[in-house]
């Protein structure tokens, strides 16, 4: 299966294209939704990559894809300005779910 990138900047797109990931550059919600629709219909895409900015524009879609029982999976990646998410963005889920702080 393949990756597919939805990016808001050309750097991420070019960099990942160098290692064999195709993608598009979009900016607005109206542009993102049709792209997502189309990818979900395709059977060969296993993982959708999204830059953080895109994920911030369509949070509901991200959540839906995250918990959906079918493929594709979704992953959020930082752009060249670094990650805006907190450093403990994965262990934070654990903390929120069971209320125990994991160092």
């Amino acid at each position: 299966m393949k990756f597919f990138l939805i990016s808001d900047n050309i750097d991420t797109q070019i960099g990942l294209r160098l290692v064999g990931v195709k993608g598009v550059v979009v900016h607005k919600r109206e542009e993102i939704l049709p792209v997502l629709d189309e990818i979900e219909k395709r059977k060969d895409i296993g993982v959708i990559l999204m830059t953080e900015k895109i994920a911030e524009i369509v949070p509901e879609e991200v959540h839906r894809l995250r918990v959906s029982k079918s493929l594709p999976l979704i992953t959020i990646i930082p752009d060249r300005h670094g990650s805006r998410r907190p450093k403990d963005f994965i262990t934070r889920y654990v903390r929120e779910a069971i209320g125990v702080k994991i160092e």
Binding site: D11, G15, V19, L73, R80, V94
Partner: protein, 207 residues
Amino acid sequence: MIQGVSPTKSKLIEAKRSLALAKEGHTLLDKKRNVLIREMMRLIDAAREVQENMETVFAEAYDGLQKANLSIGIEYVEEIGLAVEEVDDLSIRLRSVMGVEVPEVSEINEGITPSYGFSETNADLDKAYKAFKRALSLITRLTEIETSVYRLAVEITKTQRRVNALENVLIPRYEEVVKFIESYLEETERDDFFRMKRLKQRKEVRT
């Protein structure tokens, strides 16, 4: 007196049955929650590792790319990218843990398969290529772990809420209903018993 509960024998049986069911459900959900938490804890080390690496790996990748762009031109880098074969050997398996689909993503081949000529490119491009290859491999790890943890977390929260609802609301309510009906029935029984006794006494007096 509890609103909307008629104190009859059949209602008592019904309430007892509901109580037993609620308790059973509580045990099951509690077990489910424990399994989910254990599954999540298994991922904790990997999660920590991935989130620690994120920043440096991506910084290196973008840094390398920038250098390549500067030395041979962004258009040329883009053009080279077009010739690179698309990754399509990704395989994803979904494993079900208590109804949560936990993905397992195959690792991608980190080996180098050059798909551009060396005569018109330079070491900067090679570095960028290598750095992005590493980033992509981290992305697959991230996909697997973040998705798993996220899904488990959502399910744990949901289960926790149900466990709490049963424990703090439903079970006490059924217990109260059972207690109320039982005491009411006992009371009527005593009433009847006493009435019978009185009748018997009167009968004896008359004869």
